[in-house]
Point group: C2
Chain length 336, copies 2
């Protein structure tokens, strides 16, 4: 570009504006620059220019997986806004691995995306790779699975209150020995839900039994084994709170195999957005998260920041509340 | 680059090789070229070069949606291979719109990806945008939802045989008036499944009643209404084949509302990979597709082609068979 400018005795900035088709430049100048550019076979680097102007018109959504209806619904919320704004959405999966999350984020150096929406992996214990990306001028908004200390906007649901609500509901249905199933000890959402469960139990003078904190995996068969073990204990629980949607199938299958009646012998409640919840046997009581709304809001916050030259997202947490939907698996009655 | 070459009396190809750090070029020449490039502030366009060398190390997966376990499992299969090869995977969603599919594919002109795996939208009635991309040197492999006429490799399952198997199973269970639910009249997979259903019925001298071909939508409430209407007809069906996983919930909910017993009054079979199939009320008989295997194979075929300089994918169809999994919704017996 410098060469073109020198040759035509124009400023580099003027030449640059020709290539972005700026209205500030006269048609005559444009023709002159483009003619020489063609002669010299000069092609402007679209990525370098889009990096500076944030015009890749693309945002990235970085997620652990899509085989969870929370995430697929959140994507729909995100895309509803992106479509409106004329942006492409790229989806990257970390498969719950911090290493892949880091590799994906470091790839964004190339100016491939204007901004990032992220829900962290359950292995992610530090935010260096995220801060690093923000320092390279790529704004980040967290949704659902957030880093609580990172200085940017976080869209969450009321995980603690939802845990409390779930436990309170089980207590109201007569449960006294409640187990909590999770896939992560480190994720804030899982810790917050558990804190809510403990709070409800403590309020009823039946403190949480730490043996009832059950760590599951990303392997279905392994989860079935772990849950069957739990249900074969002498002091087996009379209520289960599954903090992850995909653990529901393992709980139901374990009960089927062991001939434990739900809700007669065991009451079950899941954090789940599955459309099949009402048609399970028995229909499933859920904490239903506002997945679409959370994705939509996260995208809105991100696009708002992209309109400005200096990206400074407020370090704040925005909470969209979840709902308890009562069905047969805790009450024996189908209210739907 | 031409300017550099002219100035230094080298060939353009030599200069180009300097920027790709080719071992064919002497250290002396490299230094000379790089020094002048620095002086002229010349930065090689990394995307143009990666386009020629196919080194974005990224493949795209273009899908209608992820809220379907076939697609989420297929993605896992694709990523299992991509990880091995050190490639990034970008997921793009068309939301069943041909226009968005075209916009996504035209974005690939920029050298953003080395190759594409695609399962077309249910609106996609021509393959011009796909052929156009192939002509730009970006190889394409279809999986599941394919364009049957496009000259590249297609990974499919045995849709026709599966439709036949499903209908035959319902006939064996006593059904004589079978309905077929779909979301598309144009997709080859849906047409092929329906052809199989018709074949089985014709073989039993009970030809398919065209009124039993029921077109559903992407709206859950609308689908519930459509299916309730079907089940309130005088000649209401005694068996349903849902060709799309997400239609299952609508069928079950419609039966619940109308108090139609499954399988007593209506037998139901779905093309579905949902992990909840065994815990539905009643457990669901399915045609289960080899989603992971199909994704994996599609990725293997694509990566094989990327190893070569000239991409010529064989115009062939590779079939990975599906399985009939019999459960309560057609037999009343739970064999699982």
């Amino acid at each position: 570009m410098k060469l073109l400018a020198k040759e035509l005795q124009l400023s580099v900035s003027t030449v640059s504006k020709v290539f972005t088709d700026s209205h500030e430049i006269s048609e005559q100048t444009k023709q002159k620059v483009l003619a020489l550019a063609k002669k010299l076979n000069y092609v402007p680097n679209p990525y370098a220019s889009s990096l500076r102007k944030r015009k890749s018109k693309t945002i990235a959504v970085v997620l652990p997986e899509v085989a969870d209806s929370f995430f697929s619904m959140a994507i729909n919320g995100i895309e509803s806004i992106a479509r409106e704004k004329g942006y492409h959405v790229l989806i990257y999966l970390t498969h719950e691995q911090m290493e892949r999350e880091q590799a994906i984020l470091s790839d964004f150096q190339s100016g491939r995306v204007d901004g990032v929406l992220i829900s962290i992996s359950n292995e992610t214990t530090n935010d260096e790779h995220i801060i690093d990306m923000m320092q390279r001028g790529i704004p980040v908004v967290f949704f659902d699975r957030v880093c609580e200390e990172t200085a940017t906007t976080r869209i969450t649901t009321n995980d603690r209150e939802s845990g409390q609500l779930a436990a309170q509901h089980l207590i109201d249905q007569g449960c006294r020995n409640i187990a909590y199933l999770t896939i992560s000890g480190s994720l804030s959402i899982s810790r917050n839900r558990l804190a809510g469960v403990k709070q409800a139990l403590t309020a009823h003078r039946t403190p949480f039994n730490e043996r009832n904190l059950v760590m599951c995996t990303d392997n279905e068969e392994e989860n079935l084994r772990i849950i069957k073990e739990l249900l074969q204990r002498k002091d087996r629980p009379d209520g289960i709170i599954a903090s992850v949607e995909k653990l529901t199938a393992a709980v139901y299958l374990a009960c089927k195999e062991l001939k434990i009646a739900i809700p007669g012998k065991l009451k079950v409640i899941s954090f789940s957005n599955q459309t099949t919840a009402p048609i399970l046997n028995p229909s499933l009581t859920t904490i239903t998260q506002p997945a679409f709304a959370m994705g939509k809001l996260a995208a809105e916050v991100l696009f708002n920041s992209l309109k400005k030259t200096n990206v400074t997202l407020k370090a704040e947490t925005v909470v969209v509340p979840s709902a308890l939907v009562v069905r047969e698996s805790t009450t024996g009655r189908d209210l739907g």
